[in-house]
Amino acid sequence: MPDYTGANGLRENFRVVGKPNIPGLTSYAMATGVAKFGADFVVPDMLFAKMLRSPYAHARVLSIDASDALAIPGVVDVVLWDDPIFKEIGQNPIGGKRPTYLMNEAHYEGVEVGAVVVAESEHLCEEGLRALKVEWEQLPFIIDLKQGLDPEFPKIRGPEWDESEGDYMPGLTTVDGLTILNLHYPDDPRKVGNVSWTNKIDGDMDAGWAAADFILEYDVNLHAVVSLLPNPPASVAWWFDSMYNGPEKNLHIEGAVQRRGAIATMYGLPDENVVQEGLFQGGKYCDWGLRMSQEITPLLSRRFDRPVRCCNTREETFDMCVNERLLHLKLGVTKDGLITAVEDNSIADHGAPASSEMGTIYDRDYDSYYTLKCENISQKYTIVDSNRGFMHTCGQFVPYNWDALTVGLAILGEKLGKDPVELAKLNLHGPDSQKDTRPVPSFEACLEEGKKLMDWEWHPAGTKRLADGRLHGTAFRYQMCPRHAMLSYFCKLEYRDGVVHFPTQGPIAGWFGTECFTMIIAEELGLEFDDISVDYDYRAKHTDEAGGSDGVTGQGWIVKECANLLKARILESAAKEAQKTTTGFGPFVMPKMPSPLMGYAAEDLEMMDGKVFVKSDPSKFVPFAQATSETITADYGGGSPKSAWTTGFGRVLDTMNTSWCEVAVDDETGEIEILKYGIVADPGKVIRRTSLESQIDQAVFFSMGCQLLEEYVLDPETGVRLNANMIDYRKPTTLDVPIVGKEILELRSGNAAYGASGISHSLANSHLLITAIYNATGIWIDPPATPDRVLKALGKC
């Protein structure tokens, strides 16, 4: 196991890090309702804004007659798409490219288009919207991806949206000041109609097929899942004068997610001219997209010289977090079960224009196939533009095709009569690379504990019934712990008046990153969690960049280094101050009590349990709070040590996790019961145990929801969403989610603080339960496996 360089090396004893049940710093505020989210802000003299939404899947606004709306008392104005005001707003640097801010073309049902109504109340906005006379031109739309494959189908988006038009420019490209991630390869086929392609072929496919004894082919259909951000995206903004920056040069906005930088850029302001004090961002689940309701309020506030609030409803916030993807897999396999070739032919939904490329081409470099010894891997993605909806930056199930391999191992197990766990062991490459044939210690440890946790006993499909007559099925999957910790992070700490201050601007979106960092600081300085003063301040440079627990641990490395820098400076100052025999200055000089640390250099001192003491004689100490009268600061920035992400994506298997389940299938009613759900994960090192366990609960919630309940239904005739509400689109409740057995291992082989790596999204899956149902019934049922679908698949309805 690596012992990374750093101030503290590989620490063995932990006093604070790893402790459970330390309440979150803002948990009380959240529990008691005093935490304010964007939608909660109410300011005096506020106007309200609502956007016109498209009732069609693809349509153009030809004209809008707003006279009736404007005649409604209390409707202040109707701002149309061609108003010059929209030229005053720039591109969102963390969003996708768009030709103009508000357009007259709608690319999916429910999208903002054509007009904004501004009124004295939200209800008057809605009345104004109803009074608009809109002339629509309905346009051809694609809801069925297979229909979109037809090269004769009319193009549904113009060239202004297509970064993949013309020459492909792989990597980071700057277009109109925006950084565009275009990961097409230069020799990818040119786009035809609504379809583009990208092909990635590694190794020698012919050799791979030749080495195989048989070919296994199967389909894995990933259906669309929506994110349902809990809080309605909303903002309220107003401009104010500043004696430093001038009149109307300062913007106060509440509700714009992920700090104020994006809004500052859109409005051409330096960050310091933008105030956003609210910390609470709501659930994000990797969806950091700003909605128009969070971007447009400063623009309207400037025009109407009053604060403006814009808030989405639930129906208006029904964005995808997973797009539809239809995978056809072909594996070359030896009679022993060794995979010799992998061919993934995927049809992926490109979504509405500017949707995230996650689920299409982002994930092809670190997916499950690269965990195999087999190096002959072909990934051919057919990407179809559609009018199905919009996906912001998201990754509830990253990589999107991860389960394609673990499903394959289960199908292979049925064919060969072998436990998929053994097939996984056979095929998994070693910890360092695909050529490494050694076992992966983290994986082996997870398997050992997983089998114990589950009393694991695999059986062939359809061969086991429970005493009550229901069919019994099992499933297993593995994944590496992914790494998003490739960012550059920053931390600043200050020792002031005997207290360590940790300034941070948040935001708070549920991952308890600040608490993890505070634990690390306390650990390194020999203090307790509550000894650290966390100073929430929107002007602070530090922010929880995070990106899941892998981001937290990566950022935690920087925090740890910064704490050690501070520690060294405090000890140096303490040693220096201990040599003083007097205190005060000038005529006020007085004799000073000799310090117990007198005569010792900084390297002779250590800190622990709230004391600074002499290493060789711990009875000589001063309280930490009195170590020095100086104010001492430390700041540190950079990245964590080499990460799997940057050194080989899925080819580095240092920290792994496994998921296991057992289900009962009632073949009379179609009902599925989760009998056991077990997680054995190696996050490297646990930083904050309660939130790690909670994150596992979240992953299981996502997983069981999408496999058993959630279904996003679009009307094929009209392209309109049929269940964009929380009654018809079912999320799991307390009566649905299973109790999850958890075993957390700490092999310390991650790349971040203390050998941690986090688990992040890696335990969320799209097909574990579906695979168990397959093991129970011998029949493949595409998710969601609702009772009616199960019965239909069993030929009983």
Binding site: N21, P23, G24, L25, T26, S27, Y28, A29, M30, A31, T32, G33, V34, A35, K36, F37, A39, V42, V43, P44, P73, E120, H123, L124, S227, L228, L229, P230, N231, P232, F240, H252, V275, E277, L279, F280, Q281, G282, G283, Y285, T313, R314, I508, V534, Y536, T690, S691, S694, D697, Q698, F701, N725, M726, I727, P732, T733, T734, L735, D736, V737
Partner: protein, 220 residues
Amino acid sequence: MPMETTRVGTSLKTASEQAAATIAAMPAYPKSIRCPICQRQCLTYAELADHYAAEHPDSVAPVAVTLNVNGKACALIFEPHLTLKHVLQFHLGLTGAKEMCDRGACGSCTVIMDGKPTLSCNILAAECEGKVIQTVEGIAVIPKWKPLIDAYCKWDAMQCGYCTPGFLVAAKVLLDRNPHPTEQEINEALSGNICICGTQPRHSQAILEAVLVMAEGSDG
């Protein structure tokens, strides 16, 4: 322009102090009477009603209603189509009842009305006159419920925290009715609340611990 200050309740003490301050700041009577359509300032409710009759004859005039919220009688004037959720936030400054689903499916806006859990987004505020309304802020200031809030925080029965007050209100209603619930009874009582972060298993854990602590407290 006034600046909102977000103070963070980093302990129950500060959070309950903030909740208490929010309750104290609820107006006992309207500080100003403004026409919600044209913003004209009126001196009395009668003047507003006359103004409506003259200037907005096609609109339904605001109503004068006294709501009893968290033990405080608040005389309010608002449009009759407003929900209790809206009035709590926009007229009384209470942010604990959250709007998530917009149609009574998620439980985030739950308040207690005459002892029963009530979805504040699904009831007109004008219908609530004469009812005893308690919001999560009102629960937060009662020492009896400290163990429940402590346990919620200790077990991370929240991630983003948006739905949490709704769960906590539902938990309080359950414990009022059944001080020693089983895990199954807790899950049934909270099944009308939706958490998108997946904290569902955490709530029963927190509530079961709170029940023990509260029982010890009452024994002592």
